[in-house]
Symmetry: D3
Subunit: 215 residues, 6 copies
């Protein structure tokens, strides 16, 4: 996890945004469209501290925060259960105190007003005030799967209003390089469009369109 | 419905919020996560005037507003049907004129822009412009069930961005007392966290974690 | 498509809003409640340039923008597939350059932050950063169906926070007239309500209520 | 729970079926359409032994079977979680050994092949092989809510291919009487239909149809 | 509706089945995958008597059966509402007495056991015992839309385990001709496959595969 | 993929069934509950030939069958799209001719009647007659993810009415050994239950129950 995991790389990925990084790294690593920020203006980037827990039980979240390093993103598979909010104000304050960069949870949270006010980035499936137990075991720092994406501990999560993408930790440099190249290319496309070009020409789609009898 | 149903109690519950009251009254009474405010910044509290009606028909809503007392919350089971909006601008103006405190509807509404502009609290499952009939019978002031929660006439609805909770009318005082005690406890936990404590210790989870081989 | 399709009619429809036009034209033409603006403050009106394409492929969108006239609304049936975003920043810039009035897509989009910042009206089912191919044929300027509503090329789409309604192109004048009449009637109802009237009386529901034993 | 709770009443309710009993007792008590028998040919009736448990944990089921009396139906609120099967072959064998009449669970089950082969009636939301913990507390013999229906311990569950209905335990006799009367009435209607009558006439709908201009 | 609407054409379409007719008539007219036969072994074909009604109200069904001619298929848009069963045993008996060929309903039904036993073909979204009113107006013999497909009165519905397809009434002959041609072609393909051919070659996909670097 | 991948191992896994193997291999590898056999009586086991394709396009399926070895199970990620059936009768006949053991597809299929009649095991999310293109690229023999489970080429799929589980190819022997041990243990439990034991005692749950005040 050493490669490039400096604060500058993280900041660059956060600024690039999920859609650009996804496309630039070869159209892979996107979580499903149901995972959304509770505050759409928020941006997130950081290495995953993964948590595999049971639905409606937050014992492992209290355990996981202790294992986090500053800058980590808690990435929690709570099994997509919608009728419980295992994360709320107390854990948010705990997490911010410890320098945790944000939360990505396959499930719901509560105390959204305070979380948004404090500016802590949270991506989840919805809000639920329903309570959780503190009785169930789980695992920390193991591979988990959310939204058809396998996430290894240390992989970088990048998120914004559009959604979330996972960058494998040994591909950070190439992901950044490709993303910057893509941004550059898109800037040129935008300029060309402003000057009157059509995307079908810029993207070389004429052949394909012709094959279908469209010009 | 006499006990404590004064404006001060209602204001206190509204300020405490759904998640705190839910937890404080013993983790019960939470509506499901699909019931959301159309304006996430809104807060609601008040006794339920319940309405049991059919999907896509708002005859009973026009009847119910006449039965409401100032401060009442209309709590309507429209059977969760998403493709009709039985509540809109005219009923909103009627309700505000009569001092109705807000609407909770197991279904959709329309005219959201105006409702938000007027500041009338509405919790529902979504927005739909599709019309309704005015032909179907229903019941007012009877127990109804929304989101797996039984709601009696006079029960207090408390809602905010997180969702909604129902407080039985004869438990208002104890719900407030427990909520304030909980807020007090959480304030102490927050202070302890700021001073370096961990939630696992504050909540006494060490034994459970040890039983699962986690320390 | 000649009748009344001047900029004034379009502006009037946009200002009237989806719910009013839907009701005024006889409670027809409403798209389903899952079709929402990504920026809830946006308003849209314009004639449809229809696109029938396959899920997760945006070849036809690059083709369709070339066929659009200023003021057109792209209305795209991407088959309701949620796990791809066939529309993003480059197409938005292309569309705005060409004077396209907005996008309605039975599917998802990406680059929502930029789209909102640029003020381009987009109605869709959600956000997804997942990529699309550019390999699949489709059709432009054919009748399509979204949300149980048949849309012909040239029909007018009217949308706002509440949702979307389709006005057949040869009914624009009557839709506007009915909508204005309805607004007028509702203004009178509002005034009557402010003066103490009840909606049940204003809408003549007394007979129906009496038939069900309600007074 | 004494009234009429003899095996003959139970057998009569089972034979009458869910739709008839629901309608006969005043169109109330129907569980939602997502609760289905895993074997559509099965029929169920019996008093509820209610269980309130957490999703993905079956500790309380092992506890509850010990509290059951022969003829009881286990009615379990597992919170509608789809990705776990808290009930399988061992519990089925345990239940049948103890004379338990069947299972109704707001969640999933597994080992469906064996359950069907053994003829044990199970109503649920689906099948899942995913495992459960045995760590979480719950409650037995308390009111629970499934599918918007409040179920008290001792209420009678009646189920078949169509779905499930709950008969309050002090309304068993009247439910049976009304159901038999309804069956009798429907038999007459069927006979009349065979002889050429129309349902609109048999049900006295002419007035309503005329009011809408239909004859 | 005169063209070819003889019993032989109908029988041929029923035997051809939904998937074949859909593909043969140009990949159009398929209802969505949520519309299923309650008895998967059933087959249906016949001209539509369309009904547009409100959710949870079956007044119009009692009206529509009177308008049906022998062989008609009742095609009902009940707005996709899942928590009511507007069709049951009495209407089934009425329909069979009148020679109605089957029911397609955008909603649920009840009394499935009897319907299956009687062999009456019913396609719907699910089963629900919940009751309906008989108070709401509607329309018969008007165009309706189910599953994104516009259905005109007199269009032919063809259904089996796979789903449903709509054949425009003036395209029956061509649909049958294309379907038979398709069956013939597929029979040859099957024979070729049995003799060792690959579908990629039979369907001429080599060029497309090669373009993507696959051989 | 050499270890134990003989026909006897495969037959043993098929006979053990999904639920037993899932539990025995440590409660991992279960696909989500939406993946079901179209014929509930069918059983499946075999090594995965994985296919990553786009929704509503079956070009890659025609390619993949050519790469299959006898006994392989085609495991296809069609992105969960419900409104297309990329697999039907011709591909089924092709697959059976080539000795392919079955199909697992994250999507829908058509021609279910014929597939069931031929006895070809198919697990999917539903049925759809809607057509597909043959224009989109994809990948064969790469890791794919379905239902939150990562599947490598050569992993063994085991499926029955309950659902599907994936056994990593280098864990086949241990999975079989654990499953047989589990079956043995369960046989003893069943016998003990028949002789009067309770599952709570057999599973050693007394301590946990006591901790929650239950005996």
């Amino acid at each position: 996890m050493t490669q490039a995991l400096n604060s500058e790389s993280i900041a660059t990925l956060r600024q690039l945004g999920a859609a650009t990084v996804y496309e630039a790294q070869g159209a892979k690593g996107a979580l499903d469209n149901g995972m959304k920020p509770i505050d759409p203006t928020v941006r997130l980037a950081g290495p995953a501290l993964t948590v595999d827990c049971r639905p409606a039980d937050n014992l492992m979240l209290h355990y996981a925060v202790q294992k986090a390093r500053p800058g980590d993103v808690l990435v929690v598979d709570a099994k997509g259960f919608m009728e419980a909010g295992p994360w709320g104000d107390v854990l948010t304050i705990q997490a911010m105190k410890l320098g945790i960069a944000g939360l990505v949870i396959n499930g719901c949270v509560r105390d959204a007003n305070l979380i948004i006010e404090l500016g802590f980035p949270v991506f989840c499936r919805g809000l639920s005030i329903k309570g959780t137990g503190k009785n169930q075991p789980g695992k920390v720092d193991v591979p988990i799967t959310i939204g058809d994406v396998l996430i290894h501990p240390g992989d970088i999560l990048v998120g914004d209003r559009d959604g979330l993408v996972v960058v494998p930790q040994d591909e950070i440099d190439s992901a950044i390089a490709s993303s910057l190249a893509r941004e550059d290319k898109e800037a040129k496309q935008r300029k060309a469009i402003e000057e009157g070009a059509f995307t079908a020409d810029l993207l070389g789609l004429a052949d394909t369109l012709r094959r279908f009898g469209l010009s």
